[in-house]
Amino acid sequence: MPVQFAAKRLGKELSKIQNGLPPGIELVSADDLEEWLLDIRVLDNNPLYLNETYRLKFRFSQSYPIEPPEVVFVKQADRPIPVHPHIYSNGIICLDLLGQQGWSPVQSVESVCMSLQSMLTGNTKNERPAGDEDFVRANKLRPKDIEFYYHDNSV
């Protein structure tokens, strides 16, 4: 008997989301229980992110929320990848909350969006992670298989 929390739990998250999300977060699509798209905006006047909207892609496995979702920024004509020392230019995010170690099953799609929002809000550095170009060129791994080294939690 396999563990299948995902379907019920995501169904319930979706119905909550459809009843309303915090300001600056919008559901774009959730056609199935595998992949959802959401848009986020930074609400204060941080000049790095002013007037921009960013698109997030969530991918869920059968064992969500025991396992973390895979979350990346995706690039489109009107949806850039936000500049941040923990966000690679291919959209991959280095955030302990989304890693195998830092994830907790009480997190949700909504709380992840809010964490990313505040991660952007608090940032003042107009830069990519060290080694961004090499990483983006060389990386063939899925985000969940990358072992980030969370050395700098102050950013």
Binding site: K12, W103, V106
Partner: protein
């Protein structure tokens, strides 16, 4: 004896391949060759549950035989097969619309599952909720039908009384007035019933936070508390702790052994679900 085991193995192979008819036949042969092995009966029940039109009465018999045999034997490994027998009993009784039995067997299977640390806990927790929901729906249907009947009966009584009173009135004006009075009464009565129904619908939107597990987002069946005093569904938090031995909220070390049952919350959730079976699927 050994031929019975060989037949069982052969049955298992067919079951794995999805050939449940052949598996069932082989388990039957195995039972004929050794009628005293309780495991053979749960295996046959498991195969029968997979048949296109499951023979629930025979499944119930198989499971009861398994329980009877394992309670008389001194074998200490009874836990797992008993749990399966109880789980299949719950599924069969639910299909047969014996709701109370379905709930009791699901709860017994849950208890056995916790006791033996079996990995099926999430599935059995889901079975408990499913049985409770279907029992509630069944009771609701009966209650609604009863109320509908009472409503119709009251309207009928008022109508009869109206006709009697109208007969006593001599002039047309008196008749009209009596008719109007009774029609208003009937309308009031219908409105009262209608309002009660609407109010009920509105109430059924979201279960209270205290009853809901923050991991599965389901109403809790067996809430257990962490060291911080926060409660989760046992099946959910154990699943998490097998992956990572940390408290989901504080990230401090936490193991399955640290969990303690939250009995008062368990009773509160039971009471809530008995009245609000809809909350299983909110």
């Amino acid at each position: 004896m050994s031929s019975s085991l060989a037949l069982k193995e052969e049955g298992n192979r067919h079951f794995q391949k999805g050939d449940y008819i052949a598996a069932e036949a082989l388990y039957t042969k195995a039972i004929l060759s050794d009628p005293s092995n309780p495991l053979l009966y749960t295996n046959r029940a498991m195969a029968r549950l997979k048949l296109p039109d499951p023979p629930y009465f025979s499944i119930v018999e198989d499971c009861e035989e398994c329980l009877r045999l394992s309670s008389s034997s001194s074998s200490s490994s009874g836990g797992n097969k008993n749990m399966k027998a109880l789980y299949y009993l719950s599924q069969s009784h639910l299909a047969l619309k014996n709701y109370d039995q379905a709930v009791s067997y699901a709860l017994l299977a849950h208890e056995k599952c916790v006791e033996t640390g079996d990995k099926s806990l999430p599935a059995i927790t889901a079975q408990v909720l499913k049985c409770k929901k279907e029992r509630w729906e069944h009771r609701e249907k009966l209650r609604k039908r009863e109320e509908q009947e009472v409503e119709e009966e009251m309207v009928e009584l008022l109508t009869q009384e109206m006709e009697r009173m109208m007969k006593d009135e001599t002039d047309q004006e008196g008749k009209e007035e009596t008719k109007k009075m009774y029609e208003e009464k009937i309308e009031t009565l219908r409105n009262v019933f209608e309002r009660a129904r609407k109010k009920e619908e509105q109430r059924r939107r979201e279960p209270p936070d205290w009853a809901v597990d923050d991991i599965s987002f389901q109403v809790m069946v067996d809430p257990v508390m962490t060291k911080t005093g926060k409660s989760y569904e046992r099946a959910s938090i154990e699943e998490h702790l097998r992956r990572s031995e940390t408290d989901p909220l504080t990230r401090t070390p936490l193991t399955i052994k640290d969990l303690v049952p939250n009995i008062d919350l368990k009773h509160a959730c039971e009471e809530f679900l008995n009245e609000n079976g809809w909350a299983v699927d909110w």
